[in-house]
Symmetry: C2
Subunit: 260 residues, 2 copies
Amino acid sequence: MAGTDRTRAEAAAAAGGGMGPVIILVEPQLGENIGMAARAMLNCGLGALRLVRPRDDWPNRHAIAAASGADGIIHAAQVFETTEAAIADLKAVYATTARPRDMTTDVVTPGAAARRMKDDAASGLRSGVLFGKEAKGLTNDDVALADAVLTVPLNPAFTSLNLAQAVFTIGYEWYQLEDDTPAVEQAIPKETRPANKDELLGLFEHLERELDDSGFFHVREKKPIMVRNIRNVLQRARFTEQEVRTFRGIVTSLSQKRKR
Amino acid sequence: MAGTDRTRAEAAAAAGGGMGPVIILVEPQLGENIGMAARAMLNCGLGALRLVRPRDDWPNRHAIAAASGADGIIHAAQVFETTEAAIADLKAVYATTARPRDMTTDVVTPGAAARRMKDDAASGLRSGVLFGKEAKGLTNDDVALADAVLTVPLNPAFTSLNLAQAVFTIGYEWYQLEDDTPAVEQAIPKETRPANKDELLGLFEHLERELDDSGFFHVREKKPIMVRNIRNVLQRARFTEQEVRTFRGIVTSLSQKRKR
């Protein structure tokens, strides 16, 4: 799926960065993963990235390369020495981790977290989501700083999710809340429109006339049900006005061949 | 997020592979991307991977390496010469691509596609999802083979999604339909349970007695509202039985210091 425009991308990130959740990577290791997380953020209109003690020097050229198109987010990222400092200005913090065994806390799905963060944003209160280092995850001390644990429901036999994918999951749920794309929509080329019933009936009758003429309905008592079946299947195809014309051309063309 | 068990992972993939959508990669280029797509599939309990004309030899060692943990899916993947052959046994096919400009077709979100595929699966009818080659996407001829176009609603300024992420989005929506994880759930360590109101009131009264004793309520007419505010905030913390005991210990400890 292609389609990127640097300037618009950065504008959108800046806009989305207003009240979208802050993405906080604690002790991230590979620059490439940070870059891919930035791409996932921009896909979902998020702009604010914070890093706590990244392993390598910052800015990191691997992060910039992997972020291609989303490097505005990398350049604007803030670096902190402690998780406490990175979350200081936030109202609510979610820790992405497996369900904890030795802590009493709310465990929320990405969808539920997105709805809570959205409700808080509507009151002007910004939230953040903590992601731990690759493979090891968050420490219990970091989890204890969070208001709730965020766990992505996945195949229990294989819950290992890479960093960019975990970030994308949260961003995706956030973006869906803002998005008004209809679940199902008919795309139609500009130069045409759905056929109306008059045009469709014109096609049906044209086809039935030629079929009558060609002897297709030779068992007369079966004609009504055959007509009904043909109309039924063609109805389901939801013709455009242009396609009705094409099919009338097809009927004419086949009939002329027979008549010759 | 860690947590992988090879045997269980493969068992789950085999099970999920039963009626889950078939993931069809058309002309995939980098083995690493194929491997990461396999991981995304296993995360979501999907098992059936098909490849149409992969650029490199198959099996591909880069794909196997990148799939780590999900290499069972790579080993079971089927390779086809044409998209037509890869979809021949399927009931419905979705083409992941940007909204088409010159074709009349349904455009569905990942959530709507997952629901349709699930409904079809309930009737024993299996679906597949087509993904085009990196950067270039599907050809119009491949899109024309599909029943509907599947477009992930994303930041319009940055819709460029990598292959594994596109596969993950479909799998995630599919998995959510099967999953019964509550949106919000309180995790509590095994050795304790939520405090009941009697225990909580015991803590409140203990605290208020000691505060009375220490002179905290020296403006008597303010005592009722102060008590109410303290009870209100502690109520919100949703104590466990163990935490009530810990806090009674804290009250006792602070009071003893004062009494000495």
